[in-house]
Amino acid sequence: MTAAAKLEGAEALRPDESLVADVRAGDTAAFAELANRHRRRIEHLCRRFFSDSELVRDLTQECFLRAFAGLASYRAEMPFAAWIRTIAVNACYDELRRRRRKPEELVADFSGGELEWVELVNQASPEELAGNAEERREAYTLAHRLLNSLRPEDRLVLVLKDSEEMGVQEIAETMGWSEAKVKIRAFRARQALRKQANRMMGARRFRMFK
């Protein structure tokens, strides 16, 4: 192994906290390395909230800008990955609150592909559904439409709990909420989703008989 390759290997193994120390000492290139390590994870988190790819990229960049600006306040007790995730969660929550909820749009009009997907959800075997969803963009857009009908805090709890697999206590700490609030929000989110799903199925039947 060459000296350069060894050095490269050592760089790859450097912990986040060491890179943070370098950034604080004025080495901005170390921040680029941090951003490279965490960018995809943050993009994936943002994509659980928003279907617009441009917005997802913008939010991801905003997260890293916020992180760079706030690096002085970062304390090493929390891993950098968790810290940047908290920033991303807050950025997404801010964006959700900026947008108006449009529950009435949900059942207004299905595209042809969306209607096909709803039909499949109703009729296909459970095993078939999962495999099919990964190939259908309509399944993804329809899921976003359904989730868009939720209140921002309900949606936030649902994504953190179900997609990010965070515990109630962790969510409460991240958001500065009480655990009771997190539990109530999760319950209400599921209740609202069930109601919207039924409305969606009802709209499908209506469309079928039209």
């Binding site: 960018r39 995809r40 994936h44 994509r47 659980r48 790819s53 441009e54 990229r57 913008d58 960049q61 709803v118 959800v121 109703n122 075997s125 459970p126 095993e127 559904l129 999962a130 495999g131 969803a133 990964e134 190939e135 259908r136 963009r137 399944a139 993804y140 329809l142 899921a143 976003h144 359904l146 989730l147 649902l158 994504v159 179900d162 997609s163 989703l193 069930r194 799903a197 039924n198 969606m200």
Partner: protein, 143 residues
């Protein structure tokens, strides 16, 4: 497997992470229990966002694993979009094409170069009739 256990395993079943035997048990429970089946179908409506594998979603959306170039970021920050640039370029290209066509139409020769060379004599005769030399003009006048 009861209803509670079944519903708890929906995410793993969706992600196809269950052992085959457990997945079969879950599927057979769904066949027997109408309420759980309905719950699974409702679950399937949001699962593509909440439970799908992020890399699979990237592939489905055709998202490349690269950060946006700095130039494009600056353009977006300045309020420019890729679409508006494309429109300007298209308009410019059409203007240039129209100018070229107008120029060619106005200045193009009536004959191709080879035709002009092969019919050189005939062309001279035609031009001679159209523009008689000064001597013949003087002869006619004199005659």
């Amino acid at each position: 497997m009861n209803c509670f256990q079944t519903r708890k395993e929906f995410p793993n079943f969706w992600r196809q992470r269950l052992e085959p035997a457990k997945a079969d048990t879950l599927a057979s429970h769904l066949e027997r229990c109408g309420l759980c089946e309905q719950a699974y179908r409702s679950f399937a409506l949001t699962a593509p966002v909440l439970y799908s594998d992020s890399d699979a979603v990237d592939a489905m959306l055709g998202i490349e694993d690269r950060p946006r170039p700095a130039r494009e970021r600056r353009r977006r920050a300045a309020g420019e979009t890729t679409e508006s640039r494309a429109t300007v370029w298209m308009a410019l290209s059409m203007l240039i094409a129209a100018s070229v066509i107008a120029y060619v139409a106005a200045t193009a020769p009536a004959q191709s170069l080879s035709d002009a060379l092969s019919n050189g004599q005939a062309s001279s005769a035609v031009s001679a009739v159209q523009n008689p030399p000064p001597s013949s003009f003087l002869d006619d006048f004199a005659g």
